[in-house]
């Protein structure tokens, strides 16, 4: 049996050019867009578009022959399934199997989607409507995944889809109805295509020129600057923000290894020394904890519901300078009070985003501080943080003390101390269940067995941990390290249990996330509560500047924390040192900042300014003295010496004369005099004030925004505030509804316009024209088409007998007014003036409302009225 073509070759070509090509374009756009939100797709939208286009083109050509849908579609699916099965069999045991099968799945999905769309275009008349609706729905789902939505993003997301919807609905009907025997067929197609290209490029140019900045940011963020960059970004723990600053990745979890780039992220001064020595004791800087293992997706997740949540995540950019934020829940929930002290750190951010907060574990206090003027170029913002730190905790757990006695001693002391911990019997059941959770299943049994085998000689938890550490550092028969460090282990994404068993037993190559994940399971298998922490590892590279640490991009890290009752969470890093790239420690800079901690900060109003004596009197409402906040019930007058003070407003400094009475200011002092006044806990604010020298030496005054300015800034902020998810849904629905309503009501609106013009004019010539146009439009819209008759014939032969109107008489008068050089006679004038309202009424009265309503919804009739007939 010969399978015949359903349409002529020309028509198929037209379909390909006018329908399939734009569909491919919108597919590419949507895939590009979706790629931004789903990391599974790996930013390969070009490839995916090709998959989709292949399905589209073959599907549409295929179904232009008289093939049955079901009897061809099912074999196709079966064929693809068989291929995927074969891929699984062929690639078994290889890591590329994951790549291959995932890629094939994406191909499978996109190809079938394309095939179905192709079939729809070839066979279903109302398919474009369905397609448009589906595309819009997809776009809504995709957009609803975003967390920060702006109007611009909404427009970027929806404008192309809406335009495509309009285009495809109109064009599909055009292609369906076109006459391919027409001689100027090629020109017909060409014209439509050129029109489409023009409109599309115009839109694109508009969008690009309007949102150029946004696009650049997106491009940067999603790695559009070449493949190299892409690979790197994919494997990184940090992400680059639009403004070029860096944040820890939250959404992607532990998806990456370490970046080799050496850009400075931040520096920190950490006042943590080994007890009784001058030797700095570095601590890892934590960003987030991964505590929960999702058995469904086989991934580790962050969990805000974790028991005894001691994660402090303030947004320093939202705390005014020198104001403080303290997390009381951390103070309450922080575990372990043995050997505990409070340690202060100062973080100066270079590339790190102003929003981010990083500090060693169990931080509870954050205070943004000013950066010295000469360092403002390098360090944009800074904050102080305080945290509970155990004397036992340290970054030196696996680092070789290298003969440093202090460190060796410390390690021994630490182990001795921790050997006191033998069980967790007194711990909360929930807490233990949560932090020792490990799923049941074969793949985890091997991990359990390994854990038992490694620690069979170890008695105490700390010995078990040392055994695990030694396992990772051990050497094989050939004297080669058993585990190797590599940034590219060949497994994408987050290590799941299966990948971990592979890592532990076969491959034994990986980056920090692998070591952390494996250690986590080994510890939990032994019943030791553990969690994965992400952040930055701290390396002490400088002998000159004790307590100062430099953090570069390649120091982004993941490690494990284990819990010891009474001592709290201990950092436990099992990642082996990298052998392939000898990390030449980046030369840390010279001492950056003479740190001046403001021990005295006062907030209040200016009462009096004396510019000659350089004195300012202020009314203090609130003050911070040695990090303690005092709310003053009765404001106190404070005389200040501002001779060396800088006055700041917004970001710049201003002369003293700018300071006016009544202004809200913050004044602070780095003065030694004040620093040396050590407060006692019982001290009241009055007592402190009495100790402060008069006048108080002030180093910095910051003018706060007045209420009015605040209001203005708030308003600006409000405008930029993201929509809520539900609001977004409503807005998208409203936009879609509005567009549809506008299209549906266009015929009626045009009619009202003509009607208005016809009734408005009194000049008989104009009135005749508008009455005529309005009448002809009305008749056309109501379904009485003129076809090939001239208007006069149409009126005489069709309309007048049908409706008993006097249209033909009117048209004769109208034609005279139109073509004759003579004016209308008075009787003709009367015909023209009296014609329209009665005609309109007469016609409408003879057609039921329901019918009229239906006819007025028909947009095609309106288009027909305005387009020129084909020659």
């Amino acid at each position: 049996m010969k399978i015949e073509k359903l349409h002529s070759a020309k028509k198929i070509a037209a379909q390909l050019l006018l329908l399939i090509l734009p569909a491919c374009a919108i597919g590419a756009y949507m895939l590009w867009h979706i790629n931004q939100y789903y990391s599974v797709l790996n930013n390969q939208w070009v490839k995916h578009t090709i998959y989709l286009a292949a399905g589209l083109i073959t599907g549409s050509i295929f179904y232009n022959f008289r093939f049955r849908f079901i009897s061809t579609f099912i074999p196709l699916i079966l064929l693809l399934l068989i291929i995927s099965k074969i891929i699984r069999i062929v690639f078994t045991g290889e890591f590329s199997a994951f790549y291959a099968s995932t890629n094939f799945f994406i191909f499978f999905f996109l190809f079938i989607a394309g095939w179905l769309i192709g079939w729809g275009f070839a066979r279903l008349r109302y398919f474009p409507i369905i397609l448009s609706a589906v595309l819009l729905a997809i776009q809504i789902i995709v957009v609803s995944k975003t967390t920060d939505i702006t109007t611009q993003k909404l427009i970027i997301a929806f404008a192309p889809v809406l335009v495509f919807a309009l285009y495809i609905i109109y064009t599909a009907e055009l292609v369906r109805n076109m006459n391919d025997d027409e001689p100027a067929f090629a020109w017909f197609i060409g014209r439509k295509l050129i029109g489409f290209a023009l409109v599309a490029s115009l839109l694109l140019i508009l969008i690009f020129s309007f949102f150029n900045k946004e696009f650049k940011a997106i491009e940067k963020e999603f790695g559009g600057q070449g493949k190299q960059q892409k690979e790197e970004n994919k494997e990184s723990l940090t992400k680059e923000n639009k403004d070029g600053t860096i944040s820890n990745k939250k959404d992607m979890g532990m998806s990456g290894g370490r970046k080799s780039s050496k850009r400075l992220v931040f520096i920190a001064k950490l006042d943590n020394y080994f007890p009784g020595t001058e030797t700095p004791n570095p601590l890892y800087f934590t960003y987030d904890y991964y505590t929960k293992f999702d058995t469904l997706t086989q991934t580790l997740e962050t969990d805000s519901l974790m028991p005894s949540n001691d994660l402090f995540q303030p947004d320093p950019s939202k705390i005014p300078l020198y104001f403080t934020q303290t997390d009381s829940s951390v103070l309450v929930k922080a575990k372990g009070n043995l050997k505990r002290k409070i340690v202060t750190t100062e973080v100066y951010k270079a590339l790190l985003s102003p929003k981010e907060f990083l500090a060693p574990s169990t931080a509870f206090f954050c205070q943004p501080i000013a950066v010295e003027k000469e360092y403002k170029q390098q360090f944009k913002t800074a904050y102080r943080a305080k945290m509970y730190v155990s004397d036992l905790n340290s970054a030196y757990f696996i680092y070789n003390p290298a003969g440093n006695e202090t460190l060796e001693n410390f390690q021994q002391q630490r182990f001795e101390e921790l050997r006191k911990v033998t069980s967790w019997n007194n711990e909360d059941r929930n807490f233990m269940n949560y932090y020792t959770f490990i799923p049941k299943g074969d793949s985890y049994d091997s991990i359990r067995a390994l854990a038992q085998q490694l620690t069979k000689d170890a008695a105490t938890p700390i010995d078990k941990m040392i055994a695990i550490r030694n396992f990772f550092l051990s050497k094989d028969e050939d004297g080669q390290p058993l585990f190797k460090y590599t940034d590219n282990p060949g497994i994408p994404g987050l290590p799941s249990a299966n990948k971990l068993t592979y890592f532990l037993f076969e491959n034994r190559k990986g980056y920090c996330a692998y070591y952390a994940g494996a250690t986590l399971f080994l510890l939990r298998a032994l019943g030791i509560p553990a969690r994965v922490a992400t952040g930055f590892l701290t390396v002490d590279r400088s002998d000159k500047n004790k307590g100062w640490y430099w953090f570069y991009e390649d120091q982004a890290h993941a490690w494990v924390q284990a819990y010891f009752p009474g001592y709290g969470w201990m950092d436990f890093d099992t990642t082996v040192p990298s052998t392939e790239q000898q990390q030449s420690p980046a030369p840390d800079g010279t001492p950056p900042i003479t740190v001046q901690s403001a021990q005295f900060v006062s907030f209040g109003k200016v009462l009096n300014v004396d510019t000659t004596k350089k004195r300012v009197e202020m009314q203090v409402n609130k003050m911070i003295f040695h990090d303690k906040v005092f709310e003053l019930k009765e404001p106190v007058k404070l005389d200040m010496d501002v001779s060396i003070a800088t006055i700041n407003k917004d970001t710049g400094s201003v002369p003293l004369s700018e300071l006016k009475n009544g202004m809200e200011i913050t004044a602070l002092s780095f003065s030694e005099q004040i620093k040396n006044i050590i407060p006692v806990d019982s001290n009241s604010s009055q007592e402190i004030f009495s100790k402060i020298p008069k006048p108080a030496p002030i180093d910095e005054i910051t003018i706060l925004d007045t209420e009015k300015e605040k209001q203005q800034k708030k308003e600006i902020k409000k405008e930029k505030e993201p929509f809520s998810l539900l609001g977004l849904l409503w807005i998208s629905l409203a936009i879609i509804g509005g567009v549809i309503l506008l299209i549906l009501s266009t015929p009626w609106l045009i009619y009202r316009w003509y009607r208005f013009k016809a009734l408005q004019h009194s000049n008989s010539k104009r009135k005749a024209y508008w009455s005529y146009t309005s009448a002809m439009y009305l008749l056309n819209q109501l379904g009485f088409s003129r076809d090939n008759l001239s208007p006069l014939q149409f009126a005489k032969e069709d309309i007048d007998p049908r409706f008993k109107t006097n249209l033909s008489t009117f048209i004769q008068a109208y034609l005279k007014s139109k073509y004759s050089s003579e004016p209308l006679t008075s009787s003709e004038d009367n015909i023209v003036t009296g014609f329209y309202p009665s005609f309109d009424r007469l016609v409408k009265s003879q057609i039921p409302f329901k019918q009229r309503f239906n006819k007025f919804l028909n947009f095609y009739r309106t288009i027909n009225y305005f387009i020129k007939p084909k020659i």
Partner: protein
Amino acid sequence: MMEQQVNTETALQNIQRLTDNIETVIKGKRNQIKFVLTALLAKGHILMEDNPGTGKTVMAKTLAQSISGNNDSQSVNFKRIQFTPDLLPMDLIGTHIFDDVKKEFIFKKGPLFCNVLLADEINRASPKVQSALLECMAENQITMGEVTYKLDNLFFTIATQNPVEMEGTYPLPAAQLDRFFIKIIFGYVDEETELDIYKNYLGINNNLNNIHQVLGINQILFLQQQSENVFVHEEIIKAVRNIVWATRRHQDILLGGSTRSGITFLKCLKAYALVNGRTYVIEDDVNDLCQPVLDHRLIYRNKDAKANALAGIRNAEIDRLSKLKISN
């Protein structure tokens, strides 16, 4: 101005009288009568195509008898020539014969020397004979040897032809066809009129024999002059230009309209407006006349094109005109 108006009104009345008079004999053919009068007033000629027996000859005869000649009692000079394949040019023009008395050749005028000529079944004659008609139709004169004979001021040819497909016909050459301002298909009358004709055929025949002479030859010449004064709006002229251009560009038309055909179109439009009782041309005139004036001048690629091409062009142009906003 006043005179003009009076002239127009008499002209319109005269046309009405002429039409009514012809209608007493030719029933149910109002449109065809209008076309014939249009060709007459535009100083052109008309070609009627149809099967024998549809009333073509009667039409011509009636028209001729409705117009009185220079001496009022008699109707204008009406001649009828039946074209046959063996007809020779001298049968039309006339011939030199030897005068025995004067001992010299004298010119004996043929049937072409008349006011209204009915050239029946014109396509049955050989091309040679057909071309003999060319000069007199175009220039109103006949050249015989060295002498040129002027024809009467009013010279109107009504030619009929059988459909080209019929046996024993010679197709008219393009040049000849161009001389005919209008070509119409005469067509059968509708059922009711036909019944009416059968009932009254004696009376109709009687009418034909006793037809009144309603207009004089001078009045016809005056009407021809009046039709030149009909107002044509610039947009109508543009429409004519557009249509002629479109026929030249159209894929399915091998030979498009000439400039002369455009001029003819305009002349016919003016005459047609007058025949319809108007002193200005409207878009419907273009609509009605497009086919009769242009169709026989064009050469189409195929039958399908013959049926559709010109109609398509016309409809597009009428659509343009009908939506035009003329504001002056």
